[in-house]
Symmetry: C2
Subunit: 189 residues, 2 copies
DNA sequence: GCTAAAAATTAAGATATCTTAATAAATAGA
DNA sequence: TCTATTTATTAAGATATCTTAATTTTTAGC
């Protein structure tokens, strides 16, 4: 567990064991059962979650009562509702475990303390945020110009493990396709 | 000019005049005429641009020869092709001035030096990157579930100055609508 | 002010995707 | 193993959006 954190930090700057320990002390492990909510709509998101094991989805419910999945999160990803976490406004989205999921939670309070005590962390999170930005932009660019069918094929090719672990109707939601139409697309193929 | 930078930096941490000057020394001003390219497809993006005055678009050209606008950039925004800048791979996109545009350029080399000499900058860019992430996610969430018509109305409401400064067919491209269909939508309204 | 180029509109027909509603298949819990 | 619940499929009709191509309007350069 501490190893995972140590190697994570050292990808972007050099951290001594003491520094890793210091950062680790700001984290607390927590387990969520399948279907538990890591974050509820309306609550302020006070944590970042580093997923050690499991799978979560971030979604909202629109005016028609439909769930729209915005992201999935899996092992070794940080997940949070950025907007709520940073602005401290109530979350418009839910984060829910799709499998039993173990995370390390990092509160905003602790994160600010960590930045103060270990300034090098600014660099780590600056870089990981940049990487996230790239990932999101890349996804957008691909997805915007692909048809529903192409999006699905791309998803299956790039993220086959999700196809195993996530029900099809949730993948449809993530790809912004109705489950019925996705079903048709799969038949045609 | 230096003022703009000083107040920009001090939004996120406290910088002395000396520190601001030090950062400023890493920047060089440059002017692009309307239609000039700040970045060409195929080139590695070696700079971030802080726009002092003017307007640019970031776009690519798809397999059918159509231009797809991904972002606009205006005064007081940083613009760059993140993916190419960070990974140092050839850019898949163009950045082009839509008006005569004055920028401060910051090379990757200088940025790394600046991070070394003024570590507080890590914090500034960590925070601005987070803000960008929020902005992109917010845009995605809104846009994904809006119809073409709603997207256009939202754009007009939120960014009226763009409607003045950018030709309609480019707004259509940004909103992922054909110019013909946007024209119909405007008529119906 | 005139002309060429760029931008916007119009309209008809084509297509992708959605909606609804019913049914079938798969899965989880007792 | 059985039953209830969840998930996936099917099909018909509706709709949003695109494609193409021609026309009009606006803008920029001389």
């Amino acid at each position: 567990m501490k190893n995972q954190i140590h190697s994570y930090l050292n990808r972007y700057a050099s951290f001594s064991n003491e520094e890793t320990n210091a950062f680790f002390s700001y984290l607390s492990p927590k387990t969520f059962l399948k279907k538990d909510f890591l974050l509820n709509e309306g609550d302020v998101c006070k944590h970042k979650f580093f997923i050690l094991d499991g799978l979560v989805r971030l979604f909202n419910i629109d005016s028609k009562g439909h769930e729209n999945i915005i992201h999935f999160g899996i092992e070794h990803w940080w997940t949070t509702n950025w907007e709520s976490f940073i602005t401290e406004k109530p979350s418009l989205v839910y984060i829910q475990a799709l499998e039993d999921t173990t995370v390390l939670t990092l509160s905003k309070e602790n994160l600010e303390k960590a930045y103060m005590n270990i300034p090098k962390l600014e660099r780590v999170f600056r870089i990981t945020t940049e990487n996230m930005l790239i990932a999101i932009e890349r996804k957008n660019e691909f997805y915007i110009k692909m048809s529903s069918k192409e999006r699905y094929e791309f998803f299956v090719k790039e993220l086959p493990s999700f196809v195993q672990r996530v029900p099809q109707y949730m993948i449809a939601s993530y790809l912004d396709i109705t489950p019925e139409y996705l079903s048709e697309l799969r038949k045609k193929k």
